[in-house]
Symmetry: C2
Subunit: 371 residues, 2 copies
Amino acid sequence: MSRLLNTTPAADGFRMPGEFEPHAGTWLLWPERPDNWRLGAKPAQRAFTAVATAISQSEPVTVGVSHRQYQHARAVLPAEVRVVEIANNDSWIRDCGPTFVVNDQGEVRAVDWEFNAWGGLDGGLYFPWDKDDLVASKVSEIERVDRYRAPFVLEGGSIHTDGEGTLITTEECLLNPNRNPTLARGDIEELLSRYLNVEKIIWLDRGVFHDETSGHVDNICCFIKPGVVALTWTEDRADPQYDISSDAFERLSRVRDARGRALEIHKIHQPDPVLISEEESEGVDVVEGTLPRRAGDRLAASYVNFYIGNSVIAMPCFGDRHDELAAAALGRLFPERRVVSVPAREILLGGGNIHCITQQQPLALHRMPAR
Amino acid sequence: MSRLLNTTPAADGFRMPGEFEPHAGTWLLWPERPDNWRLGAKPAQRAFTAVATAISQSEPVTVGVSHRQYQHARAVLPAEVRVVEIANNDSWIRDCGPTFVVNDQGEVRAVDWEFNAWGGLDGGLYFPWDKDDLVASKVSEIERVDRYRAPFVLEGGSIHTDGEGTLITTEECLLNPNRNPTLARGDIEELLSRYLNVEKIIWLDRGVFHDETSGHVDNICCFIKPGVVALTWTEDRADPQYDISSDAFERLSRVRDARGRALEIHKIHQPDPVLISEEESEGVDVVEGTLPRRAGDRLAASYVNFYIGNSVIAMPCFGDRHDELAAAALGRLFPERRVVSVPAREILLGGGNIHCITQQQPLALHRMPAR
C-alpha cells in the first residue's frame, strides 16, 4: 500500500518542509542493543520514554520496537504513544527512517535513502545494518504513503531544510568517501535538489568535534525558521569546537539563502565537555565491528540537537551550567512553543541526541481516501 | 495509542457486527513456519497471496509478517496490499487476532481474547504461542483502536454472529476443557454476552470431522445474513461428517434467533475427502510439540470456510467435482457480491482455510480525531 515511485519529488512537485511546519506526528525507534547502550539499554529506554512523553504533549508519537522488546516498551511508554513492531539494528530513526516530503495539495510522500550505518565497512558504526535500511519502507507501509527510493547513501540527520528551497549540510559527512565514493559535490547537489526540491545548498565544513556520524549538521546547526539558524558555540579558544563553530559562523554569515536572504545566526553555547565514565563504559557489551564506548572519550554534546514539535521544543540537557541558558535561548527563538528540557546523557552515550532519535511526519492536508 | 479498557463491550454499547456488514479492511498473517507449512511455506505463501489478491479487489488488505519474511512478502504481494511487521507463531489471525466490535456511533474497538494455540499444553497445536497472543494488541496499536482484554480463552473462528444478537458456536470447542476448564456453559454464555453483546447462543454439537481446532464453527456453519445460515453437508451416510451435519441441521431447524426468527438453512455439499499425500507430508519439518502432518490423514475440507468481503466472496476450492456447485450456491446466496474461487489445498494442509486466515475490520463511521 506504499507504491514505490520511479520519479523524483522535485519532478512531482514535492518538497521537504521545515521541521517547524505542522506535523501529523513523530516517530522513534526503541533502543535495545547491549553493545551500544549500557546496562541492557535500560537507562537509555528511560531517556527515550521521557522524550516520547515530552513530544506526545505536542503531537501523536509512534515508537517502533523489535518483537523482543515489544511488551516492555508498551508497558513503560505512556498510553497515548502508539507502539508498532519494527525490527531495527539500532534506534536512530532520523538517519535510517524516511524523510517526508509534501506538495501544495497537502499530500505526503516518503524519501527512502540508502543507509550504510554511517560509513559501511569503511568506518561505519556497526554491522550489519540491513534492518535499519528497511525502516523507511515499513513506516511508509504503516502510514500508506508512497515512497521514493533515492539512489544514494544519506542520513536524515545530515541535512536541514528551511522548506523554502535552502538546505544546510556538512562537507565532512556528505563528501565523505565512505558514503558515496563515486559522487562529486556537484552530483550530490543535483541529487539533493531532485529528492528534496531545494535550490540552494549551504555547505558547512565540519560538524561537532568527535561526532561519530562524520559531522551531521543536526548536531551543530539548524533552522529556527526560514532565514534564521541556531549554531552550537563555545567561547573557549582551546576547545577544538571553537575553530569548527567559528568557521561555520563565517560561512553562514557570508551566504544568502534560496530567497536571497542573509541568515540571522543565534549562537547556543555548548555544555562543558562530556566524557564517558569508567562505569558507563563497563556497562556496554564489547562486540567487534561495533564502535567501542571507551572511558574518557569525549561525546558530541550540543543543545542544537533538539526536536521542534508542533507546540513543544524537546531540548537535551546534561546537568550542565549552560542548560538554563540554552533553554532560555530556545524559549526566545520559539515564543509560541514550550521548551521541555529532557535529561539526555544516556542518549548521548549511544552516539546522538534527541533530534537523532526522532523523525517528524508532516501533516497531510488531504489524505488519500481509503478504498 | 490503544487504550486498554476495564469495562466490557456490552456495558459500553458495542456489539460484534456480522461479517457481511461493511468493512474498513481485512487482516492476514504471512505463513512461515516449516514445521506446519510444507517446503518452507512457499506453496502456502502463494495461496495466501491469491487470497489477499482476491480480497484486495473488495477492500484494503493488510498482511502482518515477521521481520524474517518481510522483504519476500512485500515483493510477492500485490502493491495495493499493505504489509506491516507482526511477529507471530503461525498465520491464523481469525483465531489469534482481534475481534472488532462497533457501536451505534460507528466507533470501532477490539476484543483481545486469551489465546492458547487451540488447547494449550493439553492438545494444543504448537508450543509456544506467546507471539500469537500479542497479535490482537499489535493490530489495535497500528489502527489506534481501544481494546478489551477478555479474561478467557477464545478463538475468533469458534464463533459467528449475525450482528443482531445471535451467536453460533460448537460445544466441542467452547466446552472443551483445554480452553477454559473452570468455566461452565452458563459462564461461557455470560462472557460471550458481555464481550460480544449477544443475547442468544446457538450451540451446535461438533465441527467438521477431524478438524484440529476442536470443531470451530467457521468450518461447518456461518451466517449469510441475519436469519440465514450455510451448513457444510454430505449425502454420503458412510462419511463421519454425515451424522455431524445432520445433528447440526436438526439443531438449527429447531432454534429461534435473538429476534425470534426461524433460520433458513442452506446446505453446501462438502468436497470429497481430502487426504495428505506422502509428498506433502515429507515437505513438513518434524518438530516435537507441533501437530504432525502424516500421509493419509484426512483434512477438514469445507466450502463454508469462505470470507465475506465488501464486494467479493473469497471461497476455497479444491479441484473437486463439488467446487462449481459450491460457487454457484454462494453466488445465489450473495447476489450483490462476486464469488472468487481460490485454490486452497495448500492452506488446508496447514490446518484451516480462507476464513481462518482472515479477520475483518468493520468500517468506522466516525474515526477518533487525530490529536
